[in-house]
Amino acid sequence: MALDDRRHSLTEERLSSMTVPDVGCTAEARQAALARLRSMGLPQGRDEYWKFTKPDTLVQPDAPKAALFVDDEAPLFDNVDRLKIVFVDGVYSPELSDPFELEGVQVDRLEDVCCTDDHWAEDLYGVLEARGQTPVARPLAALNTAYAGDGVTIRVTGQPSKPINLIYTHKSETSDVFLHHVVRVESGAEATILETGPAAARFNKCMEIEIADGGALHHIRAQGRDHERRAVTHMFARLGEESTFKSFTLTANGVLTRNECVVELTGDNAVAHVAGACVGDGDFHHDDTVFITHDAVNCESRQVFKKVLRNGATGVFQGKILVQPGAQKTDGYQISQSLLLDGDSEFLAKPELEIYADDVACSHGSTSGAIDEEALFYLRARGVPNAIATDLLTLAFLAEAVEEIESEALRDDINTRLEAWLERRRG
C-alpha cells in the first residue's frame, strides 16, 4: 500500500540527510531494512501505537538539543565486577572499555563482523527486527537497522563469570545516536547483560536477542538521569525451548523515553519476564510498549511495570499478550500500575490480550492511584516524617518490579540508587 503524502515526505525528509553506513557485512540487511522502512513510513501521532506518545521529536531530522547532566553519583554497578564496553555518544571507545576477553563469551564490534569469516551474527542482524514488524509496525527499529553506525555482537557460549556492561556516555548536547547490538545465547549458556547511561541527546537503540534451547539471559538496564535526553529503544527476543529471558529497566528523567520489547516464545517451556520501574518528575514522558507472543506449549510470560509520576509527568503502557493457536498451557501475566503523587500527572494504559488457544491462564491488571493515606498516617504516627514516609511507600510500590531482578547484588544496587534519588529529591 502506498504511503500517504505526508508520511512519505516525512520519511524521505528524514532519510535525505542520512547515509547508510558501510559497517561490516550488514549491507544487505541494511538495504532490506531501508526498504521495510520505506514501505511502512515513519510513525505519526495518529498511528494506533503512537496515540499516547508523540513521535515528532523522534522522527524529525535533527535531534533536539539536550543539556548535559552532571551526574555526581558513582556509576551504577560500580562495585560489581563486570566487563565494561563503553560508547561515547554512540561511538565505541576502546580506551574506556575492557578488552573483549571473558570466558564463555565472544564479543565483537559490529564493524568487525565480516562476511568472509562467516560470522554468526550475519544470520541475525535485522532478522529478528524484521520478524517483529508484524503484526505491529515498528519503523524506528527498521530505521535503526538501516543506519546504526556502531554496536556489538555478543555470543554467549558458556557461563561467563561476570556480567557484560554496555555503558553509554553522553558528551555532546546534540548527539543523535543509533546503536545496534546482536546477542545470541547458545544452548545451555547463561549470561547477564547490563546497560547503563543516557547515550545521547537522542538515542535510538536496537537489540536483537536469540536464546537457544536451555539458554538464559538476564538483562538489567538503567537509562540515566539526563533530564532532556530522548530515547527510543527496541528489544527483539526469540526464545527456544526451556530458555529464559529476564529483563528489567529503571528509568528516571529524560523528557521522552519509548521502550519497546517484542518477545517470541517459540520453544516449549520457555520463560520471559519483562519488568520496568520508572520515576518521573515534571517534563517526563515514559512509554513501555510490550508485545509477547506465545507460540509454543507451556510457556510463561510476566510483564510487571510500575511508574511513579508527579508534577505533570506522563506514563504510558501498551502491553500485549498474543497466544497463538496451539500454544496451550500458556501462563501469561501482565500488570501495569502507576502511583500518581499529584493531580497533574497522567497514566495511560492499554492492556491487550489476544488468545487463540483454549487451555491457557492469562491475567492482566492496570491501576492508577495515589499514596495510601492510611499507610501514610500509620508511618507518620510512628514518627516517620511525611516526605520519608512517602518515599518508603513509593519504594514499596516499585518493589514488585525491582524484585524481578534475580541477582540480589544487582537488585540491591538498583534499590540503593532509587533510595538515593528519592532522598535527593527531598532535598
Binding site: 507518620r380 510512628r382 516517620v384 511525611n386 520519608i388 514516609a389 518508603l392 511507600l393
Partner: protein, 251 residues
C-alpha cells in the same frame, strides 16, 4: 503527662460533632482506662490525639508535658513521645518490618536531636524485645503487618511501642481480636513499660484486658464526654451491669 481540656471535635466531612468537651489528665506512671459504648467517641479521641486527618478541633485542647500536641504534625507528636497502638494496624506491602521500625526510631531520635542508632545495636535491641513478645525472626522480616494474624498485628504494635519507648501510650482496643494467651503477652509488654513512668490511656470495651493491665483510673465515655470517673471497681461494674445503669445514673 497528658492533659486534655474541654476538647471538642467535629467530623470534617459531615459537620458532625463527636467529642463534646472531654476533660482528662493522665499522670506519669498511671494507667487510665476509657470504657464506653460503641459510638461514644473513644477511637475519635485517640485519632485526634495522634493527628489523623478528617477531624476538626472546635474547642478546647490537649497538651503533652505542657506542649500543645494538636498543633503538631503526626510525626512531631510521635517524636514528642506520643504513641497510638492502632485498633486496626495497617498492612504495608513492600515495606519491611525492620526497615519500618528502624526508620521510625531514627527519625524520632533525629527530631529530638539524638544520635541515630547503628544497624547492629538496633538489631540486637529489637531481637531482644521481640523475643519477650514471642515475635519470631520471620515476622520481623516480613512486610509490615502483611499476612499477620490479628494477634500478631497487636503484638507487633506492642513491639513498636517497646522499641520507640514513648512517654504516653494510647491503646485503642488493643484487646480486640486477641486470645487469652496473646492478651497476656500484650499486657506483659504494657506492664513492663508502665513501670518506667510512662502514662497509659487504655481504650477498651471489656473488663478482660483490665484484669491484666490494672488501671489506676477508669473513665466512662458516652456521647462525646467523660460521664463518670472512678477506680478499677468501675470497670467491674460495667462488666456486671452493662452501661445502661451508669448512663441512666448520670443522665
Amino acid at each position: 503527662m497528658l492533659e486534655i481540656k474541654g476538647l471538642k471535635v467535629d467530623l470534617e466531612e459531615e459537620e458532625k460533632s463527636i467529642l463534646k468537651g472531654v476533660d482528662l489528665t493522665v499522670e506519669a506512671g498511671k494507667v487510665h482506662a476509657i470504657m464506653g459504648p460503641n459510638g461514644s467517641g473513644k477511637s475519635t479521641l485517640s485519632y485526634v490525639l495522634s493527628g489523623k486527618d478528617g477531624y476538626e478541633v472546635t474547642g478546647g485542647g490537649a497538651t503533652l508535658e505542657g506542649e500543645d500536641v494538636l498543633e503538631m504534625e503526626p510525626e512531631e507528636r510521635a517524636a514528642a513521645g506520643l504513641f497510638l497502638a492502632f485498633q486496626y494496624p495497617v498492612e504495608i506491602p513492600g515495606v519491611g518490618n525492620m526497615t519500618f521500625l528502624r526508620t521510625a526510631l531514627n527519625a524520632q531520635r533525629k527530631a529530638r536531636g539524638e544520635e541515630e542508632m547503628s544497624a547492629t545495636d538496633f538489631l540486637k535491641m529489637v531481637r531482644e524485645k521481640a523475643k519477650s513478645l514471642k515475635i519470631d525472626a520471620d515476622m520481623l522480616k516480613r512486610p509490615v503487618n502483611v499476612g499477620f494474624s490479628g494477634g500478631e498485628k497487636k503484638r507487633n504494635e506492642i513491639l513498636q511501642m517497646a522499641v520507640l519507648e514513648p512517654k504516653m501510650c494510647i491503646l485503642d482496643e488493643t484487646d480486640s481480636g486477641l486470645d487469652v494467651d496473646a492478651m497476656k503477652l500484650v499486657a506483659q509488654g504494657v506492664n513492663a513499660l508502665r513501670d518506667q513512668g510512662r502514662g497509659f490511656l487504655v481504650i477498651t470495651h471489656y473488663q478482660r484486658l483490665l484484669d491484666h493491665i490494672k488501671p489506676d483510673v477508669v473513665h466512662i465515655m458516652a456521647d462525646g464526654r467523660i460521664v463518670k470517673t472512678g477506680g478499677p471497681d468501675l470497670a467491674l461494674e460495667v462488666e456486671n451491669n452493662g452501661y445502661a445503669d451508669i448512663l441512666a445514673e448520670v443522665a
